[in-house]
């Protein structure tokens, strides 16, 4: 899950990034509106957390530009300004959710997960596909009565697969959505992690389409 975090506070930004990293997001942090606006429209993010009071450009105008440019990525607005006027403005300009400061990290996480699930067309409290149930809190996956613990990258990878069941996902696309911007990206690593998931969960969980990529949940 690639996540764009636009937050200008020098303490809160890095802190949230660390927290969301731990929760299995590949987080790119920007502390001004200009960079956030540019990278938000250049990179295929899965979800965006946008502070409205950004230096350079206001969060609202950045959001407006994204939506006008056809960027449909779900956006959660994070702000200290909690008047209804601002909520209305934010949502009318294309935000999907609104969280006011101060907030608990857990609440932010829950909202983000709900946003991602909703965006993938799923309903319900947890991510469940073809009998596989992903527990985002413990970063583990279960089927019937069995439960497997996952490492950070395994979790990120499996979550992305489960959010796009039946889709052919290329290695480069998977790399893009599993790693953050500055990470060492080697698409061969994806192969290694796909194999690890197969070893843990069974060979037929992910099928390979030669020259095209991988598919999750084709056979159930």
């Amino acid at each position: 899950m690639r996540l764009l975090l636009a937050e200008d506070d020098q303490d809160l930004g890095p802190r949230l990034k660390r927290y969301l990293d731990r929760q299995g997001f590949a987080v790119d942090l920007f502390d001004n509106g200009v960079d956030a606006g540019f990278y938000g429209s250049e990179t295929a993010y899965d979800v965006i957390v946008l502070d409205l009071g950004l230096p350079g450009r206001s969060g609202l105008s950045v959001l407006e530009d994204w939506r006008r440019g056809g960027i449909k990525t779900p956006v959660l607005v994070l702000t200290a300004r909690d008047t209804w006027q601002e909520k209305v403005q934010g949502l009318q300009k294309g935000a999907d959710d609104y969280l006011t400061k101060p907030f608990h990290e857990e609440e932010l996480l829950a909202r983000l997960q709900a946003l991602i699930r909703r965006n993938a067309g799923l309903v319900g409290e947890s991510l469940a596909v073809n009998g596989w149930v992903l527990d985002e809190e413990t970063q583990s996956v279960s089927r019937d009565d069995q439960c497997w613990q996952l490492t950070g990258i395994e979790f990120r990878l499996l979550r992305y697969f489960m959010l796009h069941p039946g889709h052919i996902l290329s290695k480069s696309r998977l790399t893009e959505h599993v790693y953050e911007q500055d990470a060492d990206k080697d698409s061969n690593v994806i192969e290694v992690y796909v194999n690890r998931l197969r070893q843990k969960l069974g060979n037929d969980i992910i099928t390979t389409r030669r020259g095209q990529g991988y598919i999750f949940g084709e056979f159930s």
């Binding site: 303490d11 300004r81 209804w84 909520k87 209305v88 009318q92 999907d96 101060p102 608990h104 990290e105």
Partner: protein, 440 residues
């Protein structure tokens, strides 16, 4: 009397009446003088003729040639009379009949003109004098009845008065029309002020006569300054919220982290204080943001602002399917500033959405200066005890916060700050909470 119209009207009437009254008085006096002068010169002329006709007979008596005397002097009480007295002998016109005229007793050459009452109470102008003719002292009096002339003059004078009165009425009517025309821009200003109070416009039109323009401009300047001040104070309040709330977020997260396993009690206390700071900040900010009933601000437009607000609430509670019904009785604008209205209705709807099971009803009645907002849900509602505590004055959020409590006390303080009143109860239709806010 404080009406320009009445003052100008009264001023004009007084001025006209005084002027015309003076003119009529002068006209009456002049007519009288002219008439008297005319009559006097005729009398003098007749007197001269009589003197010339007077002949001394050989027996020493005097006489007049009756044929040479005008016929009017022969007709009894015709209004034209003469009387001549020479050495005890008296000749009077036949018109005098048995009456007499006073003759002057002075020396020769004296002529007197005066008014006397003649036969049959006729008002006479009397011309009399003493003359010497052929060595004899002749005393002569000629008089003419002024009644016909006077009444003619009086009739003309009354006619003049009638015309003048008509003229006054006519001029007053014209002036009224002119005043109404000239004051129409002022009426427009008054109308603008009414619309300003209703929140339909944010400034007065400046197409007014130059006499009122400075006033209108000054009002507009004041309005603009007030609007800027509101904007600035809201901006400052927003910045302050931003400045305080980000560190507060950090503090909260730090509290959650550092004491996660060790001291649960300290953590709870810390969170309690953070909560209290947050609520205090929120309360002050909410109060500072309120525009109240300041003039020249945009009003909450039910047709434009409500749908987007409802849409926002729906999207914020996307996971909840609520059957929302609204009943707006011909309402266009609320007597609330736009953001104030957003804040109030946003909180009301958000509360209802949070606690409702499936249904929320909103009704807005009345318009313009007063309105009643009713919102009902089918949630659990609130206990009577809680309503009692909410309705107590000065109860702060943190003292009355359970379930619905926080939201309701926020709504209550908002309504009160906006000058309205609020009632909580049980919805008869839906079974949950019913909140009614009244604004006058």
């Amino acid at each position: 009397m404080n009406s320009l119209r009445a003052r100008l009207g009264l001023g004009l009437v007084v001025g006209l009446v005084m002027t015309i009254g003076l003119l009529l008085a002068i006209a009456g006096f002049s007519m009288h003088k002219l008439m008297e002068h005319q009559v006097a010169s005729r009398l003098a002329h007749d007197g001269d003729t009589l003197l010339a006709d007077l002949t001394v007979r050989p027996d020493g008596t005097v006489g007049l040639d009756a044929k040479r005397i005008q016929a009017i002097y022969h007709q009894p009480f015709s209004g034209h009379y003469f009387l001549i007295e020479v050495d005890g002998q008296t000749i009077r016109s036949r018109s005098l009949w048995d009456e007499t005229l006073p003759v002057p007793q002075g020396k020769a050459g004296e002529v007197i003109l005066r008014h006397i009452s003649g036969p049959e109470q006729q008002p006479l102008l009397l011309w009399s004098g003493s003359f010497r003719k052929q060595g004899r002292l002749v005393r002569l009096a000629v008089a003419e009845d002024l009644y016909a002339l006077q009444s003619g003059a009086r009739r003309v004078w009354w006619q003049l008065l009638g015309w003048s009165a008509a003229l006054v009425v006519f001029v007053v009517l014209i002036q009224r029309a002119i005043i109404a025309r000239s004051l129409r821009p002022v009426a427009d200003v008054v109308e603008d002020v009414v619309r300003l109070e209703r929140g339909e416009v944010s400034a007065l039109r400046e197409q007014v006569p130059q006499e009122v323009l400075p006033l209108v401009q000054e009002i507009n300047r004041l309005l603009q300054r007030q609007q800027q001040r509101l904007l600035r104070s809201r901006e400052a309040v927003g910045n302050m919220a931003h400045a305080i709330k980000t560190p507060l977020t950090l503090l909260q997260q730090l509290a959650a982290e550092t004491t996660r396993d060790s001291d649960q009690d300290t953590r709870r206390q810390l969170e309690h204080y953070i909560q209290r700071i947050n609520e205090l900040v929120d309360t002050s900010l909410r109060r500072a943001r309120i525009a109240g009933d300041s003039l020249g601000t945009t009003r909450f437009d039910v047709r434009q602002d409500l749908p987007v607000l409802v849409d926002t609430v729906v999207r914020l509670h996307r996971d909840k399917a609520i059957d929302f019904q609204q009943r707006l009785n011909e309402v266009d604008t609320l007597p609330l500033e736009q953001q104030d209205g957003m804040e109030l209705l946003g909180n009301l709807l958000d509360n209802a959405w949070k606690w409702a099971n499936h249904r929320v009803h909103l009704a807005i009645d009345g318009s313009g200066a007063s309105c009643v907002i009713t919102i009902e849900d089918d949630g659990p509602g609130v206990e009577d005890e809680q309503v009692r505590r909410l309705m107590q004055r000065g109860v702060r959020h943190d003292e009355s916060t359970q379930g619905h409590g926080i939201g309701l006390s926020i709504v209550k303080s908002l309504v009160e700050a906006l000058g309205g009143s609020i009632e909580f109860g049980r919805s008869a239709a839906l079974g949950g909470l019913q909140v009614v806010a009244y604004f006058k």
